[in-house]
Assembly symmetry: C2
Homo-oligomer: 146 residues x 2
DNA sequence: TGTGATTGGTTTCATTATGAAACCTTGTGC
DNA sequence: GCACAAGGTTTCATAATGAAACCAATCACA
């Protein structure tokens, strides 16, 4: 197998992104971090992932600059894992996945946690893609320029 | 190892989404399909993925209702793989990954293909997350409601 | 219409990644 | 100081991945 093929040098930003966060657990760790979880044990319990896998994912997320380790906020000698600006910027990726999943992966009648505006408590809007002039763009309305 | 742990029953839509399209290749196949590629050989050449892997990914994408097979548009006896509505709806996921990658994974001076509005040829806007009342929401402005 | 190349896979096999459990080390509560 | 918890690391079995070989159907075209 030589090696899992690396996409880090791809010219396509989607490929590069997937190379960094495209595995099964990384984005779920980021999601948990966005929900305020910071400790190894919290991630482990929440995700149900094996500890060795979690340790390896946390390490690469730190190396990639998506999480950083810092002294625990509660004063213990342990460490907190917290999102960097680069990690927080994954918000739209997380929201896009969430909204797609809500639309297509839940049966009618089945409920799931809802992302709400913290201030008003009301659900956030669906993401929309707009042209420079403000027009709403659908799946067939874009192309790539090299 | 028993089995790669399945997230399909998770209550979190992000987890379910990743269970379906969270592997290394699926989203790249979807991206290629969005660019108009339809044939096995086109995907294989574009992605450089092993044929057995590609075949298995295409199969699960079809099973998941993200792609569908139909008689080739060019009249040959081969089949086309084309996106369904569910697959086209992954646009925001693809765009979010693309924009994050552009912002964080490319050095200054390094260029990459740019997503433009097909009509005007101008780059599309960055995705934005808005509250129901229209306010722009940042990473810390949301929470989950169960 | 026969024949060689192309397309679209499947099979085989070696290697890597994943996961569960056991183990270990340091910190914490008392 | 002692028991227990937190946070990992190691070990080992199994599953997923990838490269290459192989194969059947289809196509190009003389």
């Amino acid at each position: 197998m030589v090696k899992r093929t690396s996409l880090e040098d791809a010219s396509c930003p989607i490929a590069r992104s997937l190379d960094v966060i495209g595995d099964w657990w990384s984005l779920l760790i980021v999601r948990d971090a966005m929900l305020g979880r910071t400790r190894f044990g919290e991630f482990q319990k929440s995700l149900g992932v094996a500890k060795n896998i979690l340790a390896s994912r946390l390490k690469t997320l730190v190396e990639e600059g998506i999480l950083e380790q810092r002294a625990a906020a509660d004063g213990s000698a342990y460490q907190d894992y917290v999102l960097t600006a680069k990690g927080r910027d994954l918000q739209h990726v997380a929201v896009a996945l969430r909204q797609w999943g809500e639309r297509h992966l839940f049966d009618k009648g089945e409920t799931c946690p809802i992302l709400v505006d913290a201030k008003s408590g009301k659900p956030v809007k669906q993401l929309e893609l707009h042209a420079a002039d403000g027009r709403l763009l659908g799946p067939g309305d874009t192309r790539l320029k090299y």
